[in-house]
Amino acid sequence: MSGPLGAGASVTALPAAGPSAAGTGATANGREPLIVIEHLVKYYPILGGLLRRKIGDVKAVDDVSFEIYRGEVFGLVGESGCGKSTLGKTLLRLQPPTSGRATIGGEDIFSKQGKELKRLRRRMQIIFQDPIGSLNPRMPISDIIGEGLLAQADAENGWKDRRIRDKRVEDYLEAVGLRRDYTRRYPHEFSGGQRQRIGIARALALDPEFVVCDEPVSALDVSIQSQILNLLLDLRREFNLTYLFIAHNLSVVQYISDRVGVMYLGKIVELGDVGALYTQPRHPYTIALLSAVPDPDPRVRKKRIVLKGDVPSPAAPPPGCRFHTRCWLRERLGNPENCVTEEPPLRDVGPGHRVACHWAEAVPEDVVAAAVPAVPPPPTGPGVSPVPGSGSSAALGAAASGGSGSGSTATGAEAP
């Protein structure tokens, strides 16, 4: 389907930079991991009783290991409460980890303290979900973006000097598609999309290599979402960034990611290239999730797999496979015992494709085909970005062309 805005110069430019091309590119040229996470654990203690002693743990992130390659967008999806945001924040040292190891470009993240930690923060930044709460309502934009520069000032960069700082703030406002003279304004004078751009400028002003995007578009209007997504993709190219993109919207993740990890109750249950994961999902949870993605193409007939019950409490996750209480596959297979007794390891099932399920090979192909139908490719117009594979690409094709390149609609459409 062709986008409502039709073709524009920047639209045709998009597919080339699109995620599929970048994804395969990254896969081909000897991938160098930028972030390596090993056995990351984050528990929150539950205090109770008269003496406020620890009576348990909320297992927000429980033994997660994976790596993010330089230059890629790693998408992390899961229901709310599955620990994906906690993972991002722990990785950035915004919360202390319970145990585990993580490195950025070989540099240990969790052992740093004081000056070293501050220095490390330049390498990794975060973009938040809430465009209102993430900007200090009492600060002008120049300070919101400039505070990081001031904190990181040293003899080399000269950021102590207000003029140098202001210049840099303006440069980055421009880079995210805002006017240079917005610096004296306050957050309440901007729209949601503009505020999100300010948050992006703040993160990028420190020239990081790695950016955690913590649901950066979930709070935005759909048309603005695509603008911000495209802006993020543009900026990745421009500044050689690597993203950990956290979201609960599968279509958004599919659009922006090169590789995707699916989280359930603090664990990664499936991980793989975006194409493989969206067309050949191997974990029953992933399949159920994908079957629930609405498809605007009326020709697509999907068979939804409805999961029973609620997500169990992360304070008392089920033994064995955490998903077994709701697993449709286990039911089909006649409730095999090892689902309850044995925790499935995250194991390879294909090139770069890992799944944490004892019975991944037993997934019936017809169920996958019904849940994630391979649609005839939509008529390719200039406004459609060729997202690999599945039906839901149509939804984002529309969204992408609606955005039609980050910069063009930026200032005009959203000015207050």
Binding site: G148, E174, A175
Partner: protein, 315 residues
Amino acid sequence: MSDQPLRTPATSRVTALTDTAAADYEVALESLNQWQLAWRRFRRHRLALVGVAILAVMVFLAVFGPIIWPYDPLDLRRDLPGPQGFDPIAMPPFGSDGAGRSVFVLVANGARLSMLIGTTTMLIAVTIGVLVGAVAGFFGGWVDNLLMRFVDLVLSIPFLFIVLVAARFFGGGELVPLILIFGLLSWPGLARLVRALYLSLREQEFVLAARAVGVGDLRIAFRHILPNAIGPVVVSATLIVANAIILEAFVSYLNFGLKAQDISWGNALARSQERIAVGNWWWPFFPGMAIALTVIAINFLGDGLRDALDPRAKE
């Protein structure tokens, strides 16, 4: 280096587009800062304006009263018209007592000390309260526990008892010890308020963002969070001023306060005790009115400030 241009052609594309878009889009929008907006909201608050007007009169009395009417309020030899009675036209406008002392001069002089006590008490209490509350709320954990138990302790002591005892033994009728006593006993409520504000504000994403870019703890606590807590703090500060004025009147009335030759509204009230029985109502009436009006005015002002400083308020 920081002033080198950003790296890529994509930037210039963005620039070009925004520039053209901006050219025909920008309508000189009036950009107001937080204080201008707050002032705008404050102006619409009628009662607050009334409060400001009353306070202005009181401050005027406090500052210029003794200069315009340069009489020693305790001077008995001064030649004042009329031995007794209330004659608003004649000098003194608030009447005089049998000895020829002017009630008006007394009230005008008392404004100085009463307002001084109110504001300095407030400054001391706000300084301690904000510091304790901010540290407790921001750092949490055992620091919070320790500080808040101390607050509980201060609050658990019978307030008037401690004020009276302290005023008698450490005050000695002097101004500075009295202010210190008031200030050191007035902060716990504010500390609790500030702590509660910090507990919620420190979880905001803008605090996480500041931490992520490497801003230090102290700067986050006082430069990033405190401005967001300023509204409730200002409001409660105005109430501390009002309370301190009442407290001083009360303590002085009980003869635990200032020395007789220091004129405050409380002192003036205290001195009028025996006159009430005689029927000279104007003797206690005017100092009492001054206290009541000032306190009400300050409360109005606090009300207006609360509305004006609420960042959620629109317009």
